[in-house]
Amino acid sequence: MDNLIRRAKQGNPDAFVALMQSQMQNMYKAAKAVLRNDEDVADAISDTILVCWEKLWQLKEEAYFRTWMTRILINKCHDILRKQKHISLLEEMPEIPSGERNYENIEWEEALASLGEKYRLVLMLYYVEGFKTGEIGEILGMPESTVRSRLARGRQQLAKEFA
């Protein structure tokens, strides 16, 4: 991936597109942990793609690319939430229309919905995206200690749910 990042920083649009395409699963899952409908997720991801292209020069060290990109994505998701004033509605994940979804997606979204909203994003970034607690702190703009405590509480909640 480093090579793609470096070539994208050189201004190579094909390398940039290939790089972002390789991140689509990660971006979709992270955005879906914040936003409830796919239209909003699509907006957040497309905005993130364009902002990353515009601001890739700000990234000095390739190793930080995923942290940097995810931070942009999460900020975009929060922007959308703020604009829609839907924050209070997100305490519970909505019913997912299953008619047009395949089985894997339904199972995945059910698993996601089972995570409490407060801990969902931290748990996703840790267990699914594979970020370290320090990186999650940087992505979410919170101290690493807060990330650790949210992870611990999220785990406790899961333990209760699946006891």
Binding site: K9, V41, A42, E54, E104, G141
Partner: protein, 437 residues
């Protein structure tokens, strides 16, 4: 489902919904179109993004442009007869150095083009972007001024209430940093300023690359991440911008970096710059011009051949790369490696969910920075330039980067080449450390 199964379920790949794929594809198309336009056209305006060098820099290309934070040049090759006439006039007036007489000729030429040059500053003030952004010490300032590596053009051109001053330049063998101060332009919230088009010629020629952007007060911190040059905590505004383009006095600085592979290309050369139409850019798209006008400048870059040159045969670990030659100046580095070609294939997935792969040449351990005699590491010095094989038939790999700060050559002990990815503040163990002979 237990906890382990839940986590496993979350880790499973999901089908990306069509609406997400469609919008992502639209964004990719926009970027490809913007990139394609930049690469192919010579007559269109500049966009606010990095674009690969025309005809080079493809996957298995040779000498690639590495623009870092700045823009691809978009030089018009058609001869502008009026400009060329001015250039010829300047050449007639040219003497070695930068005399008061020459300055008068240059200001007259610029005044004719601009129509409203008002004054010449009586003192030589370092621009914020060079002083703060290049982290220059007072001692280095004096040295660079004495060596005439720095030129203070101090030409003001005012159009529709926007005053632009060609303030300062630092020039060495391969690069020239040029700073324009922009005053009287009110930047809309959440946007970034941009000139729609820029034309630059040096000694009447434009066969070099240039990149440009507005200075935003950011430098690279010790951990390789963005940091505010003034030391204040990094903050992000509601639009996701972390830099501060508009200074406390309401002005902004536009930094242009010229780059040529030809040694000494810019030193003591006359430069002509036209900045066209000032507007804003967002999400890879020029949003239009708030002010349609042209600001024109002419001056001499001065500059200094202050390279230290080192011949060596340093094998970089088991990478297969040998450093053969290094040229180091206070603001740039040039490295020649012997690095037999290795083809690397990178796999990916396109927007249709199909597997794709692309081949390109592996890179040697990249020059990252220097170690000073007092033990200080500057590991994040790269600031745009070029890299790649010299030509199709050689294993000589060339790297030519501008540095992101001014360094004191006498105090450099070793060069640092990337050994591994670094997270956090690096130590010597993260690099191949090559002592200077």
């Amino acid at each position: 489902m237990d906890r382990a199964e839940l986590i496993k379920a979350l880790q499973t790949d999901v089908e990306i919904p069509e609406v997400v794929q469609d919008k992502a594809k639209a964004a990719f198309d926009k970027i490809r179109a913007a990139g394609g336009e930049e690469i192919n056209r010579k007559e269109e305006h500049l966009k606010k993004e990095s674009i690969k060098k025309e005809g080079r820099g493809t996957g298995t290309g040779t000498y690639q442009e590495y623009h870092g934070q700045l823009q691809k040049k978009n030089v018009k090759r058609k001869e502008n007869s009026e400009n060329m006439k001015k250039m010829r006039k300047k050449k007639l007036a040219k003497k070695k150095g930068f005399s008061a007489g020459k300055a008068a000729v240059l200001f007259l030429a610029a005044a004719l083009a601009c129509g409203s040059i008002t004054t010449v500053a009586a003192y030589l003030r370092w621009s914020r972007s060079l002083e703060e952004g290049m982290q220059v010490t007072e001692e280095q300032k004096v040295q660079l001024e004495e060596e005439q590596a720095v030129a203070f053009a101090m030409q003001e051109c005012t159009k529709q209430g926007v005053k632009i001053t060609a303030e300062q330049s630092i020039t060495d063998n391969y690069f020239s940093y040029i700073v324009f101060r922009v005053e009287g332009y009110e930047l809309a919230k959440g946007t970034e300023p941009a000139f729609e088009r820029m034309e630059v010629s040096v000694d009447g020629k434009d066969d070099f690359n240039y990149t440009a952007s507005f200075y935003n007060g950011l430098v690279t911190g010790p951990d390789g991440k963005a940091a505010n040059a003034d030391g204040s905590p990094l903050e992000e505004d509601e639009y996701g911008n972390i830099g501060h383009i508009v200074m406390k006095d309401g002005s902004m600085e536009y930094v242009v970096m010229l780059h040529s592979d030809v040694r000494g290309y810019f030193v003591d050369k006359d430069i002509h710059v036209e900045l066209h139409n000032l507007g804003t850019v967002a999400k890879a798209e020029y949003l239009g011009s708030a002010i349609e006008d042209t600001w024109t400048f002419d001056w001499n870059l001065k500059g200094k051949d202050s390279m230290e040159e080192y011949q060596m045969q340093e094998l970089l670990g088991d990478s297969g790369a040998t450093v053969k030659k290094v040229e180091l100046s206070p603001v740039s580095v040039y490295v020649e490696y012997d690095f037999p070609r290795q083809t690397v294939t990178e796999e990916g997935i396109n927007e249709n969910g199909e597997s794709i792969s692309s081949d390109f040449f592996a890179e040697p351990p990249m020059f990252m920075g220097v170690k000073m005699k007092d033990g200080t590491l500057y590991p994040w010095l790269q600031n745009g330039g070029s890299m790649g094989y010299g030509d199709e038939n050689t294993d000589t790999y060339l790297v030519n980067f501008a540095l992101d700060r001014v360094i004191d050559l006498e105090q450099v002990e070793s060069l640092l080449f990337q050994k591994e990815d670094v997270m956090g503040t690096p130590t010597e163990e993260n690099f191949y450390v090559v002592p200077l002979p």
